[in-house]
């Protein structure tokens, strides 16, 4: 039997295999989006067979839907809504207790800059409604009555309201907690590389195949520009800004991040980006730092080792915590 025929077959088979291999995507990766919790939730996952990724992402979305029902204040049947309706509070689930516990801790450390009891104030402004209004001072004063870090007491799973009129609003932390839980679900299903992004509150699990995740940070006063890019693995990135939800009246911009002391939108910053261990913590810290402004905000951050911040002040100046540079991608 001559040599050349088998060799030809082997060569052709090798070339076909090479071509087939080159045509395959380097890794399975899926990216899915849903409108949830009043925002766009996007989940990317990779590094496993497509079927496993699909199942895991389905489970992660289901977990977020469940938490939306549990923690949202616009769902009248949620546990949080029932707490708001009750005169003195009551027993809550372990998850609600965990979220409120974290929120109260940030509220205390921030001197009330972060507040879980702004439900009445937010309803008064109607910032998410069709016709938001600038309320008069009297109404604002009434909406702020009884709020603050000491307005709620949590003993285990028993939550006590100190004022029957208090409306609990977990908007500044619940979305972050839901992202954290979605990541936990993905981990439980063996996913080592994923990103869950709920309207800018995100967690980056593991790495892309060839490098850490890269996150662009929105330039607050230029819609199509990125302020800078950071590179992270197994970290949360959260941005709060005055440019996403706002209305304008008489030339003045009124946004959705309220200063609990004044009852008006906080004026110290254009945006705050936090890198932290969890999205829930990052969410709460981003709001607290936004309200406190750059100097006081960075002092608060000293109490949270492992968390870093980039603040764009009202005048556009940048203020970063000392460890921020380790995440920066060189331009």
């Amino acid at each position: 039997m001559p040599w050349n025929r088998p060799l030809m077959i082997v060569l052709l088979a090798g070339l076909l295999a090479l071509t087939w291999w080159r045509l395959q995507p380097a890794d399975d990766e899926i990216r899915r989006s849903q409108l949830l919790m009043g925002t766009v939730v996007e989940i990317m996952a990779g590094g496993r067979p497509a079927g496993q990724l699909e199942d895991a992402v389905d489970a992660a979305f289901s977990e977020m839907v469940r938490l939306d029902h549990l923690l949202s204040s616009y769902n009248q049947d949620s546990e949080v809504s029932r707490l708001s309706q009750s005169a003195s509070g009551g027993a809550v689930s372990a998850e609600t207790a965990a979220v409120i516990g974290l929120g109260l801790e940030v509220a205390r450390r921030s001197g009330g800059a972060f507040d879980l009891t702004l439900g009445r104030l937010k309803a008064l402004w109607g910032i998410d409604r069709e016709n938001p209004v600038v309320p008069n001072r009297q109404a604002i004063t009434a909406a702020l009555a009884g709020i603050g870090p000491n307005a709620l007491t949590l003993n285990g799973r028993q939550l006590n309201k100190h004022d029957a009129e208090l409306q609990i609003d977990l908007g500044g932390i619940a979305k972050g907690y839901a992202v954290d839980r979605a990541i936990a679900v993905l981990r439980e299903r063996g996913i080592a590389s994923a990103a869950v992004n709920a309207g800018g509150d995100m967690y980056l699990l593991g790495q892309r195949p060839e490098r850490p995740w890269r996150v662009g940070i929105q330039q607050p006063r230029q819609k199509d520009a990125v302020l800078e890019t950071v590179q992270v693995s197994d970290r949360a990135v959260v941005t709060s800004g005055d440019y996403e939800r706002f209305f304008e009246k008489d030339g003045q911009r009124y946004h959705h991040i309220f200063d609990p002391q004044s009852g008006f939108p906080a004026r110290g910053c254009q945006s705050v980006t936090i890198i932290a261990d969890s999205v829930a913590l990052g969410d709460a810290l981003a709001t607290a730092l936004f309200v406190l402004g750059p100097q006081e905000g960075l002092r608060l951050l000293d109490q949270y080792p492992g968390a870093e911040a980039l603040i764009v002040a009202t005048d556009g100046s940048l203020h970063a915590s000392p460890g921020w540079t380790k995440y920066q991608v060189a331009p």
Binding site: W3, N4, L18, T19, T39, M202, G216, D224, Y243
Partner: protein, 128 residues
């Protein structure tokens, strides 16, 4: 003992060499192919529109509140008209990088930039 290629005839080489060239050209073509960046729009969770980002056009996507108007131009894709009450989607600016998202939550419209591999984007996600 002679090396295998000494047994091959001219006819064998005439068959094999073009095949090798074709296979290598195929691999090079795949590697050099443009990103194929596309605008993908979903309404109510269903994909209802997809088009290349580099082909300017304007179009309407029907949502539960009515038509949302979108424009693709040299800046990217952006929402320019919407029946939603607060018009937040109109102020979101253009999306042009792989992974960028625009949304009109009340009208259940989601706009995404998709690029196979997404390697040309300077970032994977945008925090805003």
């Amino acid at each position: 003992m002679k090396a295998p290629w000494h047994y091959m005839t001219v006819g064998d080489w005439l068959v094999i060499l073009p095949l090798i060239c074709a296979a290598l050209a195929g691999v090079a073509w795949v590697a050099a192919a443009p990103g194929g960046t596309r605008v993908v729009v979903t309404s109510g969770g269903e994909t209802c529109f997809s088009a290349p980002l580099d082909q300017p056009r304007s179009f309407d996507i029907e949502g539960p509140l009515g038509p949302t108007h979108l424009v693709i131009d040299e800046q990217g894709v952006r929402i320019t008209g919407s029946p939603c009450p607060r018009k937040i989607c109109l102020s979101m600016g253009p999306a042009r990088h792989s992974g960028d998202l625009l949304a009109c939550v009340p009208n259940r419209i989601l706009v995404r930039i998709d690029s196979p591999g997404g390697k040309e984007a300077p970032y994977d996600l945008l925090s805003r």
